[in-house]
Each structure stands twice: as C-alpha cells, then as structure tokens.
C-alpha cells in the first residue's frame, strides 16, 4: 500500500475535522484548533491545509447553507474521507506501536 504522508499541521487539521464532525468549516476548525492546542493560527493557513488535504483525497467538501452572520455567504463543510480515516488510523497505529516499543525509563522523566 502506498503510504500517504501528512505534515504535522495537516494531521492536526484532519483530526480537528474529525472532532467537529458535521460542523467542520474554516472558522470552526480554526477556533477548535485554538481551544484544543492553544495554537493561534491564521484562517489562511487552515484554508491552505484544508485545500491540500482535499487534493490528497483525505477530505471531501460540500457547500453548506448561507448564514446571515457571514454576510449571506455559504460555508464549505468538510468531512473526512475513507482514505483520510485510514491514514489517521495508520498514523495512530504507528505511534502506538512506537510507544509500545519504548523501554521503561528510556525517556527522561518529566514532572507533571
């Protein structure tokens, strides 16, 4: 299987889309990212990532309904595709496997 690589930011955005479920669109994703990771990103960065993810086939989109608060403009709503979902799962599996392989006390201790 050809593996699709995701950038770190792309991965986070993809995850956020998954978290938001039905209501994933530009601003909502930005806000969620802010809340979950504390990262303040520009809308344009999020749009760029979404655009790339869609090109890679990890996301699909459709135009939503117009809302007054956006000056009558419609939202583009994103959903994770099967490919997107598999990629996320793959990444997670890889990570879990890696975590599992770490010897006890191999990581320097950090106080929480």
């Amino acid at each position: 299987m050809r593996r699709s690589y995701l950038g770190e930011f792309e991965e986070v955005v993809l995850l956020t889309v998954a978290v938001l479920g039905e209501g994933a669109y530009g601003v909502a994703i930005t806000d969620e990212l802010d809340r979950q990771t504390g990262r303040s990103v520009s809308i344009s960065a999020v749009h760029a990532a979404l655009h790339r993810l869609e090109e890679k086939g990890m996301l699909s989109s459709r135009m939503g309904d117009a809302t007054a608060e956006r000056g009558g403009r419609r939202k583009r709503l994103f959903t994770v595709t099967v490919l997107g979902s598999r990629t996320l799962h793959d990444i997670r599996a890889t990570r879990d496997q890696l975590w599992g392989s770490i010897a006890p006390n191999a990581l320097p201790a950090i106080s929480i």
């Binding site: 669109y25 520009s42 344009s44 749009h47 608060e69 000056g71």
Partner: protein, 878 residues
C-alpha cells in the same frame, strides 16, 4: 441591524486575487471572524486583523486559478473581446452619421495636432545636428548709454571680436566668422547675381556640414577657392563630381576664376546656416589695423568653448580683452560723437538662436522664427482637437439612451461596471484609431499647403522619427481617453432596472453637455474674430496710401551705378515712348548720423537721388523746392529732409538749416533747401523715420526706378532688358514691380490671415457637425412630442423655433466669453503695428451673425425635417 464593514480596500484586494471558486468560503470565514472580533476587541482591532488575514491569503493555493464551478467572465477573455468588437462595429455601422461626425472631427483634430507637433519638433530641433553642440556660441553685444540704459542689443560683430577673443580667452578654442554677400557669377555668356557666403577656414571644423568631396580642413584655405552645395553643383555642372573645376566670379571689374575645392552635402532643412556658395573670408592687413572695426558690425561670429567652460567667466574675459584692445578707439569715439555709453559683449548659445526674439538669426542666417507662432499654432490645433473630443463626448452621451437597453441586459446577466467601462473605452479607441489613420491621410494632403504657409519643407517621412511616433502614440491614447472616459463612466452607471423598463432618461439638465457646446462656440467665435481682425489689418496695410505712387513702377537693381552711367541709361530709356521717366536712387536706414543745430545728433535714412526722384513718385515738396539742374550747387551744398526729420530736429524754419556730417574722411556741411512730405518708405509695421535726400555727386546709385505707361509692361520690359544688357553686359539683370514688392512686405500677415482662417473654418466646421449630431438626437428623442404638438395644431415654424432656440441660446452665451477674450488678444496683437485699424463693433456683430447663422442652418435643417414629418408616422411607433 446593518453589520459593520471590514476595510474596503482589503475586501477588494481579496476579491481581485482570490481564485473565484474559493472566494465565497474565504470571504465568509473572514467575515465571520471579523464580526466576532468586532464584538470582542472593537472596530479598529477587528479591521486590522481582517487586513492581516487578507494579506496572509496571498499564497499559491488562493491565487491558483482553476476552472471553477462558477464561470466568471474576465476582462480579456477572447470570447468577450470578440463580442465587444462585434458590437462596436455593428454600432458604428448602424449609426453612420454619428460615426462619420466623430471620425471626421477627430481625424481633423488629430491631423492638426500631429501637424503642429511635427512643426514644433522641427522648430526646436533647429541647429542641433552639429557635433560641437552645445559648445557653439554666437558673439552678441549690447550698447548701454552712460546712464546704463540698454540702447541697442545686437547679434552682429565686426571682424575683430572673433580673432581677438580667440587669442585672448583660453576657453575659446575656435571661432568662425560668417557673412553674406552677393557676387556676379558668369556662366557662358550669362551673368547672374549669386548669393555668396564668406567664412573662415575653421568653418567645417566648427559646424557639421559633411563634404561629398574635398578636404574640409583645407577647402577654404586658398583665397581663390570655393565650396559649393550639392544643389548648385547639380544645377551648374549637372554633376557633383566637380572638384578642381572653376567658376568665374566678378572681382572689381573683371571675372576671376575660383577653383572648386569642395562639394557640400545638402544642408539639413532645420539648419540656420544654408549656403550655396562658400568662399574664404579674407581680411586685409590694413583692415585689421583699423581700430574702428570694433564699431563696425555687419556679420555673425561663432566661437566654440571648452566643454566645461563657465559662460559668465568667458564673457567677463571677453569684455576685458575688448576694453584693453579698443581703448584708443573708444576714446576717439567719445571725442568725435560725444559718445559716453559702453559696449558689453556676451554669448548666445547657438541652439537658442532660431527661436530668439531679441537676437534673431539674420544677416546670412536663415529661417529665423518667432516662438509665438508655435504657441498660436499649437493653441489652434488644441482647440480643434478639444472641440472634436467634445463632440465625441456629447454625442456618445446623448446617443447612449439608445443603448441603455444593451447596458441593462449586460448588467443583468452579470456584467461588472469595470467591464462596461472597458467596453465603451474600447469603442472610443476603435473610433480614434480609424480617425488616426484618416488623420495621417489628411496630413499628407495638407502638407504642401501647410509647408507653404509655415515656410517649411516638412515631409510625411519625418513622422517616423521615434520621438514623434512616441508623441503621436501618447496623443492617440490621450485623445481616446479624453473622449471615451466620461461617456464610459456615465453609461456604465445606468441602473439596469430602469433601462429595461424603458423608463430611463438622462437626469438633470445636462449642464455638462451645454457647457461643452458653449466652450466649442467660444473657441470658434474667438478664431472668427481673430481672422476677421487680421484680415482687416492686412487689408489696411496693403491698401493704405503710402504717400507715394507705386503703380507701374519697375525697379531694376544696378549696384554701384555711377552718375555718368545713370545719365546714359536715362537717355537710352527715354527713347522709348512707353517709358515716362527714370529715377535712380540709393539709400535706406543705415544708421547715418549727423549733427543738427551744431550739436544734437540725429540718425536718419540717407538717400541719394536726383531731381527726377520725387516727381516720379509723386511725393510733394511741402516747403522750399526740389533739387534742380538750374542750381549747380545742389549736388554739393543742398539736402532735402522729410517732415519727421524736421520734427526730430525741432526746427521752426527748416529751410536754410545746417546739417553737419562728420565723415571720417572729412566733415561736410549741407543746407536744407526743402521739406518732403512724409511717406512710408518702409513697411507699415515700422514708424516713419527721418529721411534725408542728397544729390552728392560721388555717391553711386543702387537702383533705378522706371515709370511706364499703364498696360505696356511686356513691351517696356523687353526694351528695358535689351537696353540694360547693351549698356552693362557684365552685370546681371533682374527686374521687379514696386507695388508687388510692397505687398511682399506683408507676407507674414498674409500667412497669419490664411492660418487663422483655416483654423476658424475647421473649428466652426467641427463645432457645427457636433451641433448637427446633437440636434439630430434631440429631434429623434422628441419625435413623439413633436407629433403631439402638431396634432394639437402647432405650426412648422413654431416647432423649428422650439427645437433650435435651446442651441442658439448656447451659441449666444458663448459670445459672452469669446468677445472680451478676442478683443483683448487682438488688441495686444495690433500693438505691434504703429499704423493699425481699430477693432470696430462691426467685427463682433459680424462674428455673432456668422456663428448664429451657421448654427441655425445646422440645427434648423434637422428641426425642419423633424417638424415636417407626418405626425401619423411618429405617433404610430410603439
């Protein structure tokens, strides 16, 4: 609640660069974020953030233009362009009158403007082709009185300044003196008078006149050498390969051979120096020795300065050299003439000379030009072009009502305003381009006449000069924008809803259109007044009584005619019955000075005549008597003076007064024996000057005036020519008629008259075709109204009146502006003439009459047509 708006520019920017298929969501997100920020942080911060966000969208994914799901026509998509072109051509073809008015008007305007650019370019390029520019200067001098008042400013010098300044001022690297004269040239058995220029050997190193053959360094070294121009070589020898051949020029009383040492290429037409025959400038040693030569000025001297020389410093050094060298003669002058003023030498850049008013190119230099001429011509050309553009604006806006529906449809299907503007501007470009091509044809047709009027030799090929082409291109763009921009703006602003329901009308009273019509007619009336005034002044100058009879008078030039020869000629001519009388003369305003009343100095025209001169010209002697053979002493003791002389001298009893000449050879005293009535011996743009007539036996004559019986010209001329050739076989023979010569003095006025007339005709023509177009449209627009009026019993006259009054009012208003302006301008122009007409009220009345009648004819014809249509027809439409 109307939500607060994000910064407009940022919004616009986003709209412009963002890929269309992404725009909606991006805008939406930004708007959403903006509104949240607005609530949280307030307006300023929200706006700033919005701007930052927009700018951060400047990245490849947003800029990438993919086929989008919402196709949006862009400005330069080939399909739309094709559509614009098609619509433009259809529109032009459908409205032939409108297109013709615009194209004709604009092409005349463009042709006029291009012609003047050509003219001006030629004027300012004068003498710039010399490689030594800008280091070439001409020596000028001014004379100041003891009190420091400028008395005389002149561009001429004597033989001294050139060599002395060259020797004494290190910055002057070279000099050349240039003088014009005439010499008799013998070709076979024919003798003709040839214009000859004398120049120093350095001529070809100072000026850039390439030689076809011959060595420029040595061509003028030998005293018996001559350089001729290509044209002269062709004309005389039929070839330019003439090096070493000889030409016979008269020296003293016999013909001497001069060897051709060079053939010069045709001089550029924008050169102030145009020579046919060039000879070495020879100064005899005894001439150089005479200190007086500092004060005898008769030619142009040019110098070359070192490249970074300071002109002011050089001038100061020149004056030091002059004062040191001329000390003695300055003292001598002061004693002899009570002369206490001083002379100051200066330098004039060679390239300034052509358009200089105070220091003109004359005395062997040609084509001196008045810069006012350029200004006025440019003014007229601009007038014409402006009027043509006004036509375009007015007609397009007025006609646009007919296209309102098209505009509405375009808008409804999604045409943006910018697109419409570009479409209409494009149409104006197409029209202008057509006009431009037609304009070039017009220039080709007008060039011969224009060259004749402007005294130029311009050709269409000059148009392909890079600077001019750039100029024309700019002119074309400006004209297109000037005429197209306003209509495009108005048209694109129409409200589609109104236009599509046919409820649209131009709002307001259309003040712009009205003021533009007023402006057009102001310019036209101004030019009509100007040409009328110039015509009247010209008429006055050419028909004014000159104080003498110039009819049936033949002049033959015979330089250095001795008394005995004159007598012989008179006797021979008297044998013919058609010849009434013969009078020789020599004289003019040469700056001759004499002492009056013992001390006062007076300068006057010094005329050598004999007793037949005054009767022949029918100039009355008011007091005293004419010269007479009965008084042998007349030739040595008596003079006649004119009235102005008496006035200037302040004599109560002029007869018997003494005039004291202090010639350098020996002083002479003369008594006044008569006073001659003032007459215009010069052109009428000069005041009558003091004149003195002498019969002094040693003075030779220069001209012979022959009065013949009316209608005997052919026979008389044959006889005169035969006699002259028999008596003076070695002299060139040529004749003129005095009255024709007198009219030639006003050539410049005659040209002005023509130019102004052309200008006036063109402006009035273009204004009127514009008016015609407007009247047509207004009649069309009011077809239904006219129909109803007619049905209700209005008369044809009434309707014509209704339709034309509006326009005639505008034309009348234009007089308010045109009359004072024209009156002032013409008053200023007339100040140049000591003898002039007064601008009468008649000129203004005539102008008003001309303008109103032409305007009425233009508008009235359209109105009449509208008024005559059968109301049944006009009311049935719809």
């Amino acid at each position: 609640m109307k939500s607060a708006m994000p910064p407009r520019w940022a919004y616009r920017l986003l709209e412009w660069f963002c890929a269309p298929h992404l725009l909606e969501e991006v805008e939406g997100d930004l708007q959403e974020r903006f509104e949240r920020n607005l609530l949280r942080y307030g307006m300023q911060s929200a706006r700033r953030q919005y701007e930052r966000e927009v700018l951060s969208f400047l990245r490849p994914f947003a800029l990438k233009r993919q086929p989008s799901e919402y196709p949006q026509p862009i400005f330069f998509s080939p399909a739309m362009l094709r559509n614009y072109l098609k619509i433009a051509f259809r529109n032009l073809a459908r409205n032939k009158a409108y297109s013709a008015i615009n194209i004709i008007g604009l092409s005349i305007g463009l042709a006029a403007a291009m012609l003047i650019m050509l003219y001006t370019k030629d004027e300012v390029s004068y003498d710039r082709f010399h490689r030594n520019n800008p280091s070439i200067y001409r020596i000028t001098s001014k004379h100041l009185t003891a009190a420091g008042v400028l008395e005389n400013l002149q561009p001429y010098t004597g033989i001294f300044p050139g060599p002395k300044f060259h020797a004494g001022v290190p910055e002057i690297t070279s000099f050349v003196r240039y003088q014009e004269n005439r010499k008799d040239l013998k070709q076979g058995t024919e003798v003709k008078s040839q214009t000859v220029h004398f120049a120093d050997t350095s001529f070809f190193s100072v000026f850039t006149f390439p030689l076809l053959s011959g060595n420029p360094k040595t061509a003028l070294k030998n005293p018996q050498s001559v350089v001729i121009s290509e044209e002269v070589a062709e004309k005389t020898f039929g070839s330019t390969n003439v090096l070493g051949k000889t030409m016979l020029f008269k020296e003293k009383d016999k013909f001497e051979p001069y060897t051709i040492t060079g053939v010069a290429k045709k001089s550029p037409q924008n050169s102030s120096i145009k020579f046919e025959v060039l000879m070495p400038f020879l100064v005899k040693d005894e001439d150089m020795a005479k200190n007086q030569n500092w004060f005898s000025v008769f030619m142009n001297t040019f110098v070359i300065l070192k490249p970074n020389a300071n002109v002011k410093a050089v001038e100061a050094k020149m004056n030091r050299v002059y004062l040191a060298d001329a000390q003695e003669s300055i003292k001598e002058m002061a004693e002899k003439f009570n002369e206490t003023g001083r002379t100051v030498y200066a330098l004039q850049p060679f390239t300034d000379m052509h358009l200089s008013k105070d220091l003109p190119a004359s005395n062997g230099l040609v084509d001196e030009s008045n810069p006012t001429f350029s200004y006025i011509l440019s003014g007229i050309a601009l007038f014409i072009l402006l009027i043509a553009c006004i036509n375009f604006i007015n007609l397009t806006v007025a006609r646009s009502l007919k296209r309102a529906k098209e505009i509405g449809v375009r808008k409804v299907v999604g045409g943006a305003r910018a697109q419409l503007i570009i479409q209409f501007l494009g149409e104006s470009f197409i029209l202008c381009f057509a006009a431009f091509l037609l304009g070039i044809i017009l220039i080709e047709l007008a060039l011969p006449t224009f060259n004749q009027l402007a005294n130029k030799a311009l050709a269409l090929s000059y148009l392909f000069d890079t600077e001019l082409v750039a100029g024309y291109f700019i002119l074309f763009i400006i004209t297109s924008l000037l005429s197209g921009f306003y209509p495009a703006l108005v048209l694109s602003g129409y409200n589609p809803v109104q236009t599509l329901y046919s409820r649209f009308n131009l709002s307001g009273k259309n003040y712009l259109q009205k003021s533009l019509v007023v402006l057009q007619f102001t310019l036209a009336s101004f030019l009509i007044i100007a040409s009328l005034t110039i015509y009247l002044q010209f008429n006055y100058l050419t028909s004014k009584n000159l104080g003498y009879d110039d009819k049936n008078l033949i002049i033959i030039d015979k330089s250095n005619l001795k008394r005995s020869e004159a007598k012989l000629l008179k006797e021979e001519l008297a044998k013919n019955r058609d010849i009434i009388d013969v009078a020789p003369k020599n004289g003019g305003f040469w700056g001759t000075v004499a002492k009056i009343n013992g001390e006062t100095q007076l300068s006057f025209a010094y005329e050598t005549v004999d007793e037949t001169y005054l009767p022949l010209f029918k100039i009355p002697v008011l007091k005293g008597r004419n010269f007479s053979p009965d008084f042998p002493s007349d030739s040595s003791q008596s003079v006649l003076v004119n009235e102005t002389f008496v006035k200037k001298a302040g004599w109560k009893k002029p007869i018997g007064q003494l005039v004291n000449f202090f010639w350098s050879e020996k002083p002479e005293k003369y008594h006044v024996i008569g006073v001659v009535k003032d007459h215009h011996f010069e052109a009428l743009n000069r005041e009558i000057k003091p004149q003195l007539f002498t019969m002094k036996a040693s003075n030779p004559y220069g001209k012979v005036f022959i009065k013949i019986k009316p209608n005997t010209e052919t026979a008389s001329l044959q006889y005169i020519e035969k006699t002259a050739k028999k008596l003076f076989p070695l002299n060139p023979y040529s004749y003129k008629f005095l009255d024709q010569e007198n009219i030639k003095r006003y050539e410049s006025e005659a040209k002005w008259k023509q130019m102004m007339l052309f200008g006036a005709i063109l402006t009035i023509f273009i204004s009127c075709i514009g008016l015609f177009g407007l009247a047509t449209l207004s009649a069309e627009r009011r077809t239904k109204e006219i129909g109803i009026r007619k049905v209700l019993g209005a008369s044809v006259t009434g309707i014509v009146q209704l339709l034309s009054t509006d326009f005639l009012k505008l034309v009348s208003i234009s007089f308010i502006f045109a009359f004072p302006a024209a009156w002032y301008a013409m008053q200023e122009w007339l100040k140049n003439y000591p003898y002039r007409i007064n601008i009468s009220i008649g000129v203004f009345l005539l102008t008003a009459f001309i303008s109103i009648s032409i305007a009425f004819l233009t508008v009235g014809w359209q109105s009449l047509r509208a008024a005559m249509t059968n109301p049944v027809k006009s009311l049935k439409i719809d």
